[in-house]
């Protein structure tokens, strides 16, 4: 990944490539909107999942800490946004105030979870984080009585969209005769944020901090013997991962305009973890690929399973919704069986892309 951003040697080629990617990213929503606005929304969610997966990748991929309750931080961020920008309490703060607040609160939650549990071995840590995630969800579900904080299972509605100096991300504007719909506006915002997040991830990985995390992942005893304060570094990983989740949650709230505890169930944690593992733990590029695949495969199946059955059998034998989840489960199994280290294994890529240091020393 390092070499990916390294323009030394072949600047013209790399810049041309980047320009091409940029053009594709700019054009994409308009192409998708041509197929159907639903696909723009799906893409926005996919980008949000990339964001989440990259956050979890810091915890799982870099530091090697199994976390099955990651979605809780997403939930915290989402609810912070929803409560501070909706009629629930009549508070309407601007998004650039709430997003950092959500990140901060998620970060505090991350440290609270991390501090007592970081001594635990992998599998124990997994179940504790899973329990933590469930606890947060149950609280979100039940904090409607005796005092109504979260509105319980009904969730919170009419959440404010992002607004910047009079420009609202909701509604449709017309630019050069083209309809600039709300999902397209969010798309651009999300993609810019995602690119920033990717840069942050790559920079973290190729830093003193990132190497310390990876050392802990590889061998904690040796890492400590090399002078790494493993406890602080693990807490840091949790805090960073949680903040990412918190920011993503805030964006989700604003984008959807409605949230309920249903969006923050264990299956979602598992989904994000699957994205990380499937893409290739610790590999930023791989994680993005994994997140995009697991976001799009179920959607593509949604639109193809029904018609395909009609074409083959002349009628719908199996409920398409069930069938697509069945195929999704199978896909998870098969992909892991054939690429156990992930689609883009971290180690392999490193070997291929790292520049030869002979010319540096």
């Amino acid at each position: 990944m390092h070499a990916f951003f390294d323009t030394r040697g072949r600047p013209a080629l790399v810049w041309a490539g980047l320009a091409l990617v940029a053009a594709a990213l700019i054009a994409l929503p308009w192409v998708l909107a041509g197929i159907g606005t639903a696909w723009v929304r799906i893409t926005n969610l996919a980008v949000l999942y990339c964001f989440l997966a990259l956050g979890l990748n810091i915890v799982v991929g870099f530091a090697g800490l199994l976390d099955l309750g990651y979605i809780a931080f997403y939930g915290v961020g989402a609810y912070v946004y929803a409560l501070l920008a909706s009629p629930q309490f009549g508070i309407h703060l601007p998004f650039w105030v709430i997003l950092p607040l959500g990140a901060l609160l998620a970060c505090i939650f991350g440290m609270l979870l991390g501090a007592p549990t970081l001594k635990l071995r992998g599998d124990y840590l997994a179940i504790v984080t899973l329990g933590f995630g469930e606890i947060v969800r149950i609280f979100l579900n039940n904090l409607s009585t005796p005092f109504n904080l979260t509105n319980g299972p009904q969730g919170i509605t009419l959440i404010d969209p992002f607004r910047l100096d009079g420009f609202s991300f909701a509604g449709t504007q017309h630019v050069f005769g083209q309809a600039l719909t709300s999902p397209i506006k969010y798309y651009y915002f999300l993609v810019i944020v995602l690119l920033l997040v990717i840069v942050v991830n790559v920079r973290l990985q190729n830093s003193r901090i990132g190497r310390a995390w990876e050392a802990i992942r590889e061998d904690e005893v040796a890492a400590r013997a090399m002078g790494i304060n493993t406890r602080n570094m693990k807490l840091l990983a949790y805090a960073m991962g949680a903040s990412f989740g918190g920011i993503a949650g805030g964006m989700f709230s604003a984008m959807q305009g409605f949230i309920s505890p249903e969006s923050f169930v264990l299956v979602e944690s598992i989904m994000v973890l699957s994205m990380v593992v499937l893409g290739g733990m610790g590999n930023v590029f791989g994680v993005v690929v994994g997140a995009l695949m697991l976001s799009y495969i179920p959607e593509v199946l949604r639109y193809t399973v029904g018609p395909a059955q009609m074409a083959v059998f002349g009628r719908t034998l199996i409920d398409p919704e069930v069938f697509r989840m069945l195929l999704f489960g199978l896909a998870l199994v098969l992909m892991m069986l054939f690429r156990p280290a992930g689609i883009v294994p971290s180690a392999l890529r490193k070997r291929e892309l790292e520049q030869v240091p002979a010319d540096v020393g």
Binding site: G131, I318, V322, L332, L337
Partner: protein
């Protein structure tokens, strides 16, 4: 006092089911250090198969005593679950035995999704009412007319669980295959060198665990009176929590953890409303006192927080005893 006894009875019943399911997790973990995430779904398959058999037998007006019907149904469910468990290991775990540690976790999750959706196709989305063919008999435990009771179904669940746990212990500690399992758990490589067919031992472990899961499925279905394609999820989660609570990889730990978890949950659900009743504090605030007039049970936390207890207890236990109640202490070795 009556509430306490009643919650204790309910807790022990629930805990027995947890313990049986937890055994499946802990055996597999003990031998190959794998969290078999699909185990809860094997329980679900057991409940579903037994449901179908009961439904068919009852529908055909077979003149058998109800107990016999349930036994036949269970005997059907056991081999089906064993086959499923065996297949899970062969297809999804064995090829990944030397893969990165999280890889089999993902296949397990994938298989869990597959099993649930197969169940959806076969048995549908709606919860199935478990036929209550065995007439429930309620025994009074105290002299109080509205006092604590225990039903014959609860007695049966607790009794069968005890018998199965005892049987498993005999199998593990008194038979040749048990020795082979323990040896493999200690060190699979050395066990292999000693002539133990490690693959066979692992298969048998899955098969035994799945057999237990089938019985647990029937018990769960009979106790709650419903079966549902997602019933294995939360049950599996609790059972896994129980296994970790007791010290994963430890048979006694799974049993203890299961019972404890069941009891904690029941007592917690029974008492939390009372303990967190804000009306105890109505002397402190006039507004609160006013609300308590209309709603004397103004609890901060109600029994809807039942699932929280399980996890809070788990987290506390692990923080103070990181390898579970009966688990061995693991120290870092240089």
């Amino acid at each position: 006092m009556d509430t306490f006894i009643q919650q204790l009875v309910n807790g022990v019943t629930l805990g027995s089911v947890y313990a049986i399911v937890a055994l499946g997790y802990t055996m597999v973990y003990g031998i190959i250090q794998l969290i078999n995430f699909a185990h809860g779904d094997v329980v679900m398959i057991g409940a579903m198969v037994a449901y179908s058999v009961i439904a068919v037998l009852v529908g055909a007006h077979v003149s058998l005593p109800p107990l016999a019907i349930v036994v036949i149904a269970t005997l059907f469910a056991i081999p089906v679950c064993m086959a499923v468990g065996y297949a899970l290991e062969r297809v999804a775990y064995r090829p990944l035995r030397n893969a990165p540690r999280l890889a089999p976790l993902i296949t397990a999750i994938g298989l869990s999704i597959v099993l649930e959706n197969i169940a959806l196709i076969i048995w549908g989305r709606a919860p199935l009412p478990y036929p209550q063919i065995i007439e429930t008999v309620t025994y009074r435990l105290t002299s109080h007319p509205d006092g604590a009771t225990i039903t014959n179904v609860q007695v049966a669940i607790i009794g069968i669980s005890i018998v199965m746990m005892a049987g498993l212990l005999v199998l593990i500690y008194r038979t040749k295959i048990g020795v082979a399992m323990r040896a493999t758990a200690q060190n699979a490589q050395v066990a292999g060198l000693m002539g133990i067919d490690v693959n066979r031992v692992i298969s048998i472990t899955f098969i035994i665990g799945s057999g237990l899961a089938a019985v647990a499925g029937v018990m769960d279905g009979s106790y709650y009176g419903v079966a549902h394609y997602q019933m294995g999820f939360i049950l599996g989660l609790k059972a896994f929590t129980a296994a970790v609570l007791g010290g994963i990889g430890n048979l006694g730990g799974a049993m203890l953890g299961g019972l404890l978890l069941g009891v904690i949950e029941s007592l917690g659900a029974g008492y939390v409303g009372e303990f967190t009743n804000l009306c105890h504090l109505s002397g402190w605030s006039h507004a609160l006192a006013l609300r308590c007039v209309s709603d004397p049970h103004l609890a901060l936390f109600g029994s809807n927080y039942q699932d929280v207890f399980a996890f809070v207890v788990l987290i506390l236990v692990l923080v103070f005893r990181p390898s579970g109640l009966l688990g061995e202490r693991v120290s870092d070795r240089a």
